[in-house]
Symmetry: C2
Subunit: 303 residues, 2 copies
Amino acid sequence: MIELRQLRNFLALAEHLHFSKAATAVHLTQPSLSRQIAALEAELGVMLFARHSRAVTLTAAGLDFQAHAKSVVAALELAIRSTRASARGERGELRVSFTSVAAWTLMPALIKRYTDTFPEVRLELNELLPKDMEKAVTTGDTDLALTFKVSDEENSCYFPLHDEPLCIALPADHPQATADAFDVGQLKDAPFILSPRTIAPLLHDTVLAYCRRSGFEPRIRIQPHLQQTIVNLVAEGMGVSVVPLAMRKMQIPGVIFKPIPQAPSVEFGIVWNRQNDNPCLVSFLRHVGACAAETHSDTSALA
Amino acid sequence: MIELRQLRNFLALAEHLHFSKAATAVHLTQPSLSRQIAALEAELGVMLFARHSRAVTLTAAGLDFQAHAKSVVAALELAIRSTRASARGERGELRVSFTSVAAWTLMPALIKRYTDTFPEVRLELNELLPKDMEKAVTTGDTDLALTFKVSDEENSCYFPLHDEPLCIALPADHPQATADAFDVGQLKDAPFILSPRTIAPLLHDTVLAYCRRSGFEPRIRIQPHLQQTIVNLVAEGMGVSVVPLAMRKMQIPGVIFKPIPQAPSVEFGIVWNRQNDNPCLVSFLRHVGACAAETHSDTSALA
DNA sequence: TAAAAATACTCCATAGGTATTTTAT
DNA sequence: ATAAAATACCTATGGAGTATTTTTA
């Protein structure tokens, strides 16, 4: 059975064409190298070198074997480098899930920064509803979730990244849309569009709490799943809503986004499974930690 | 230093995902395989397998290493096969020189038969004057010469392949060209075109002997090197000549090729260097020998 | 408790070293 | 006579086996 050591020694001799010199180069003595080559030739059943008394030359078959042996050794070196890179999370695959709101806020910049630093990691991006995130993370269907704040559990960890303020979305032809002094209380009778609590409890609760603090109970008529659907329905004049401020990036005509003074906000972050040993997840979290450290402070939870 | 044995054992484990079963498959005991893998992981500095109490699984890095290790092993197997093929003369390069007359006679069919049987041998075909053949063979500039008969010498060997009859080449407007009873003697005063003796002694001597036997000494005026040049000059009406019969393949207008009853002929064959250890030369000679054995008999000189 | 991998310890096959011979110029 | 590879012989490393322990579901 041919071993790599024999290929390395063969390559040394093929290069030096001198047993003693080649033996020195690979830290062997001449007799050892002599036997190595003889054993290799015996296993192949092929003479690789022609021994003339004053010169050693490669045979035609030896020349062919040299080219192939080089590629074998190169393939092994590639294997080593690639595998170490994989272990460092510099190569491989990372499956990222995100809620629609994350797609409008932190996801694009976050993903771009990561792929700039780790270009060899193949990303699988998948939009999910917030309610399905935790399950996807625990079953291992996804490596990483960009979603609303959740509480840490046995396996799933959470790290905060972003606070998104809310704003009021009004049809452009609503009386309050152009009012000098905006009054939230005037919205109490307007049909209210809000996603169901089961989809995204935190967002739902934050909006409801804000309405109640403003002195009214919203009359919820339509319950879409996605924020962009809410905005589209507001644009059609079907009601008003309270949505993440970033939704104004949609730049859809017919909707006015009213910022709220001392606005309530929803928190976003990363959710992952502590059991997940995908090195790319580790590299992602470390990368996010390094970026976060430049702005906030506490990144210890990423360890 | 990583060895192929470790890669083979790794691949077995990656396939079976069970130390005992994989160990059996590669004819080892479980503890041996265990240490092999541990040593491999230590050298890489990377965990390749995740050992759970009831199951062994590949890590992300292990999956990557598996793919690369497969290609390393495959590269070695290719190297072995290719090198053995090289040694058998089934792969490599063969430099063939031939005289122009060989190009009009035996060379094309000979080369075609060889390339059909040995498609992986790259052929370098080169036309040479007969006088330069022996030198090219002895210096090693060429592996094989297809040329006129020569006597065996210390290093160069000759094997006969073909007898080419001669014919007379006349301008179409020559009186003898259309004569009912052709008479060679009528050519004695015509300007005679013949290549110099230094270029191809055998051909030159055969033609001269024929002329003298026919009762005249040719009046040689022009001495081209190539037979096709002779034919072209005959076509221009510049004289007559005696050329290999195959030259009529040129189908050039203005020339009549007169076959000669009991024609003299020139012998062709292969010349090679006994010192030359190019396996493709051996495969060529063996192949020619096999083909020749179907027609004539004595191929012992090819050994 | 049982299944499976890791560890401890022993042995020997073989890679490698030293000394010497062979070979060809 | 000399340079260089092959051979003979010896040594010791490390790969492989057996027996045992550890681990976790």
